[in-house]
C-alpha cells in the first residue's frame, strides 16, 4: 500500500503563477487588447490559426516567438511556464499565430537540443525574430500514426544525402521556409526504429521539391503534399545524429503534446456564443448546465497542463502525463462542439448572420481533426497505457 501511495502521488503537482509570471500575463493581455480588440477581430480556432507574418513579427519584438531559445542565440530564454502563459492567452483570443507556431513549439527546441552549433546560430536567431517559419515533415501516405513506417529515403551522396519520397498533411508548407524531414537513412533490417534520421530541408526554391496543395474538407488550403525527388541535402543540414531519428522525433513530439493548444481550439467560439446568448437574455437551465460543465473542465484541464510546464522547468519528463492531457483536452473540446450545437438550436453556417454561429460552423467542420492531429487519441492511449502499471506500482 505504501508503494501504491507513493506511485499515485506521481505527476501533476498543483502549481500557481509567480509574481513575475503574472506580470508577463498582464503584458500579454494588454498586447492582445490593443492588437485584437473584441468585436474588431475574427478569432481563429486555436492552433489552426491564420498565418500572419505581421502579427508574428510584433510578437517576436516582445520576445514571444522562439520563447525557449537562449539569449546567446538571440532568443528570450523564457521558461516552459512563460511559454504556457503566452500561448494560452494567444489561443484564448484566437490570435493569428500560424506563421511561427511550429517553429516556436517544436522546431526551435529540437534544433537547440540536437542541432550543431552552426545550425543553432543559423536558425535560432531568425526564428526568434519571427522571420523563419517551419513546417513538420513527419507524416507520409503510408505512415500516419505508425511513424516508424516512413518510406522517404536518404541515400548517401558526395557531401550529403539525396532525399526521395513524399510527405503529406504538411501544414503551411506553401508559406513556411523550412521543414524537418523524418526519413530512412539505412534499410529496415529488424528493428524498425533504427536507421531513421532527421534532415533540415528548405521549402522554397529547392530543386526536386514540389509542393502540391491538399484542400481541407471546407475548401481551405493549409495542408500540402511535399514530393521530393533527388533533393540534395548537404551534410551541414543533418539534424542530430544519423540513425537516431526515432529518438529525436519522439522528443520533438513530447513538446507538442500537452500545451494549451490541446484544449483551447473551441474557446473563442464558446466565449462568443456566451456573449451572444447573455445579450439575448433568458437562458435555460440546460444552458446553465452546459456552461457550468464546460467551464469546470476548462479550469481543471488548464491546471493539469500548467503543472506539466512547471514539471518540465524543474527538469522532469512527464510523458504519460502529457499524453493524458492531450487525450483529455482534445476529447473535451470535440465534445464541447456537440454541447454548444445542442444549445444553439440553429443550423451552423459559415455565412450565418452572427459571428457565434459562423465560428460554431467552423468548429463543426474542423472538430474531427482535434483528436487526430499529432497522433490519434487511440494510439496515444495505447502508448500511455504502457506507463500506467509503473504509475500504480503494478507488475505487468
Amino acid at each position: 500500500m505504501a508503494v501504491a501511495e507513493q506511485a499515485s502521488a506521481r505527476g501533476f503537482a498543483y502549481t500557481t503563477l509567480t509574481a513575475e509570471e503574472l506580470a508577463l500575463r498582464e503584458e500579454v493581455r494588454a498586447f492582445i487588447k490593443a492588437e485584437l480588440p473584441v468585436g474588431g477581430y475574427r478569432p481563429c480556432l486555436g492552433m489552426s490559426a491564420d498565418h500572419d507574418p505581421e502579427f508574428t513579427r510584433k510578437m517576436a519584438a516582445r520576445g514571444w516567438v522562439g520563447m525557449s531559445i537562449p539569449t546567446r542565440y538571440g532568443g528570450p530564454a523564457h521558461t516552459a511556464v512563460d511559454r504556457f502563459i503566452v500561448v494560452e492567452e494567444m489561443l484564448k483570443a484566437g490570435a493569428p499565430v500560424g506563421a511561427h507556431w511550429v517553429a516556436d513549439r517544436q522546431s526551435a527546441p529540437t534544433i537547440l537540443r540536437f542541432g550543431t552549433e552552426e545550425q543553432r546560430e543559423r536558425f535560432l536567431p531568425a526564428i526568434a525574430r519571427g522571420e523563419l517559419w517551419f513546417s513538420i515533415g513527419m507524416s507520409e501516405p503510408d505512415a500516419g500514426s505508425d511513424l516508424a513506417a516512413v518510406r522517404t529515403t536518404a541515400t548517401r551522396t558526395d557531401g550529403g544525402w539525396l532525399l526521395n519520397g513524399t510527405k503529406i498533411w504538411t501544414s503551411n508548407a506553401h508559406q513556411n521556409h523550412w521543414f524537418i524531414v523524418l526519413c530512412r537513412s539505412s534499410p529496415n533490417e529488424g528493428d524498425r526504429h533504427e536507421g531513421l534520421s532527421q534532415l533540415l530541408v528548405p521549402l522554397r526554391g529547392t530543386e526536386g521539391l514540389e509542393i502540391n496543395p491538399i484542400k481541407f474538407l471546407d475548401g481551405s488550403h493549409h495542408f500540402n503534399e511535399v514530393v521530393m525527388t533527388d533533393v540534395f541535402v548537404p551534410d551541414e543540414d543533418v539534424l542530430g545524429e544519423i540513425g537516431r531519428g526515432w529518438q529525436q522525433v519522439n522528443s520533438e513530439l513530447a513538446y507538442e503534446r500537452a500545451g494549451p493548444d490541446r484544449f483551447l481550439s473551441v474557446y473563442s467560439t464558446f466565449e462568443q456564443l456566451l456573449r451572444e446568448q447573455v445579450a439575448q437574455g433568458e437562458l435555460s437551465a440546460k444552458a446553465f448546465e452546459a456552461f457550468g460543465r464546460i467551464t469546470a473542465r476548462y479550469w481543471a484541464l488548464r491546471n493539469l497542463s500548467l503543472s506539466i510546464s512547471r514539471t518540465i522547468d524543474q527538469g522532469g519528463a512527464p510523458a504519460v502525463e502529457a499524453a493524458i492531457v492531450k487525450d483529455l483536452g482534445t476529447t473535451f473540446e470535440q465534445e464541447m462542439i456537440g454541447l454548444l450545437h445542442d444549445l444553439w438550436g440553429e443550423e451552423p453556417s459559415l455565412d450565418a448572420a452572427t459571428l457565434g454561429n459562423q465560428l460554431l460552423a467552423a468548429c463543426v467542420l474542423t472538430g474531427p481533426s482535434f483528436t487526430l492531429r499529432g497522433g490519434t487519441n487511440e494510439i496515444l492511449r495505447t502508448v500511455a497505457s504502457k506507463g500506467l502499471a509503473a504509475w500504480y506500482g503494478v507488475n505487468r
Binding site: G292, T295, A296, Y392
Partner: protein
C-alpha cells in the same frame, strides 16, 4: 496556501486504515451501521478533528491536512462520519462556541424538502439524509441565522432508517418539540452556502480518494486477469479504459488541490462548484469503466470494488448533485459574461473580487 498535507499524518492514517478498515469490517458496518474497531483507534489519533482549530477543541492542522484525511476516508471506504465530525460538525460547533464532545458529530445537510423551525425554544420539523444521526453525540443544524445542536436521544426525536447506496445510515430525523441543547447566532461566513460548499469539498475529496484506489485496483486487475491467453490489459479496448480511468482520476485530484488552494484565499465559490461537478462527472465515468474492466467479479460483494463505487454513487449526490453544481456554476458564468469567463478559468474566484 499549501495544498501538500503533512506526510506523517498521511502515513499514520494509511497504516491505521490498512490495519483496521478491511473488507470484512466495511461489510459488517453495513449491518451494524457503525465500525467501532475503526472509530476507536481513529478518534484516538485525533484525525476526525483535523482542520478544526485547537482553540475550539479540534486537532488543528491545515485545510490540506483535513482534506488529506477525507481523501483517505474515500480511499479506504471508511464507513464513518469523519467529515461530519470535524470539517462540518466541528466547524459549526466551534462557530457556535459549543464544546466538542468526544464522540462523532453530524450535520443536517439541508435537503430541499427539509422543514425545520424553532418555536418557543424547541425544535420542530423534519431533516432528511442526516448521516449517522442515531450514532452521533450531537446533531448540528443551521436554522435561519442560528446554529443549533440537539441530542439524538432528546425528547421528541424520531428517526426513520434510510441508507445510502453504500449501506451507510442517512436517517430521516423528525423533531417534535425537541429541546435544543445549544443555540447561538451564526457568525459571519457561517451560513447555508458555506455549509454546502464545505460539504461539497469533503465529498469531492472522498470521491477523489476512492477514484485513486479504484484506478489502482483496476490497473492491477487488468494486469492479473488472463483471457484469450493474455493479460486483459494488453487488449487495446481495455487499455483505453485504463487510461481514461487514470486521466479522469487525476483531473479530479487536480481540481481538489486547486480548490484547497482557493479556500486559503478566502473565496472558493467557483472552485467548489467546478470541483463537485467534476467529481460527479468523472466519478460516474470512472466507476462505469472500472466495473466494465472488472467484469462479473466486480459485481460481487466479495470483491472490494463495490465498496468504493457505491460510495462514489452516494457522495456524488450529496451537498449538491452534479447537475445542481453545474447549473449554479453556469449561472455564475452567465453573470460574469464573456469578458469575465477567461479570468474565471485562469484566475478562479479571485477574479470575482472587485479590482
Amino acid at each position: 496556501m499549501t495544498v501538500v498535507p503533512d506526510a506523517l499524518l498521511v502515513e499514520t492514517l494509511t497504516r491505521l486504515f490498512t490495519q483496521t478498515c478491511g473488507h470484512e469490517v466495511i461489510q459488517q458496518a453495513e449491518t451494524d451501521g457503525w465500525a467501532e474497531v475503526v472509530w476507536e483507534p481513529l478518534a484516538a489519533t485525533g484525525a476526525p478533528w483535523v482542520g478544526v482549530p485547537e482553540s475550539v477543541g479540534g486537532s488543528g492542522g491545515t485545510l490540506a491536512d483535513a482534506i488529506a484525511v477525507q481523501r483517505l476516508v474515500g480511499r479506504f471506504a471508511v464507513p464513518l462520519p469523519v467529515a461530519e465530525t470535524g470539517l462540518l460538525g466541528g466547524w459549526l460547533a466551534g462557530a457556535a462556541g459549543i464544546a466538542l464532545p468526544d464522540g462523532p458529530l453530524t450535520v443536517v445537510p439541508q435537503r430541499p424538502n427539509d422543514r425545520l423551525s424553532i418555536d418557543g425554544g424547541v425544535l420542530n420539523g423534519v431533516a432528511h439524509r442526516v448521516p449517522w444521526a442515531a450514532r452521533s453525540s450531537l446533531i448540528l443544524a443551521l436554522v435561519g441565522d442560528e446554529i443549533i445542536a440537539v441530542e439524538p436521544g432528546a425528547a421528541g426525536v424520531g428517526m426513520d432508517v434510510v441508507r445510502n447506496l453504500a449501506g451507510e445510515p442517512r436517517e430521516t430525523v423528525r423533531f417534535d418539540g425537541t429541546p435544543i441543547a445549544h443555540r447561538a447566532a451564526a457568525p459571519a461566513g457561517v451560513d447555508a452556502i458555506a455549509l454546502r460548499q464545505r460539504g461539497a469539498l469533503c465529498r469531492s475529496a472522498q470521491i477523489a480518494g476512492a477514484l485513486e484506489r479504484i484506478a489502482e485496483l483496476t490497473v492491477e486487475y487488468a494486469n492479473q486477469r488472463t483471457q484469450f491467453g493474455q493479460k486483459i490489459a494488453r487488449f487495446q479496448a481495455v487499455a483505453q479504459h485504463l487510461v481514461r480511468i487514470a486521466s479522469e482520476t487525476r483531473l479530479v485530484g487536480m481540481a481538489l488541490d486547486g480548490t484547497v488552494a482557493a479556500f486559503g484565499g478566502g473565496d472558493a465559490t467557483f472552485e467548489v462548484a467546478s470541483l463537485k461537478s467534476l467529481a460527479g462527472e468523472s466519478g460516474s465515468d470512472v466507476t462505469t469503466r472500472a466495473h466494465q474492466v472488472h467484469g462479473a467479479i466486480g459485481m460481487t460483494q466479495e470483491f472490494v470494488l463495490h465498496q468504493l463505487s457505491r460510495r462514489v454513487w452516494s457522495w456524488r449526490e450529496e451537498f449538491g448533485s452534479t447537475a445542481w453544481w453545474r447549473q449554479g456554476l453556469g449561472q455564475l458564468v452567465a453573470d460574469v459574461g464573456a469578458d469575465g469567463l477567461w479570468p474565471l478559468v485562469s484566475e478562479g474566484s479571485a477574479s470575482l473580487l472587485p479590482a
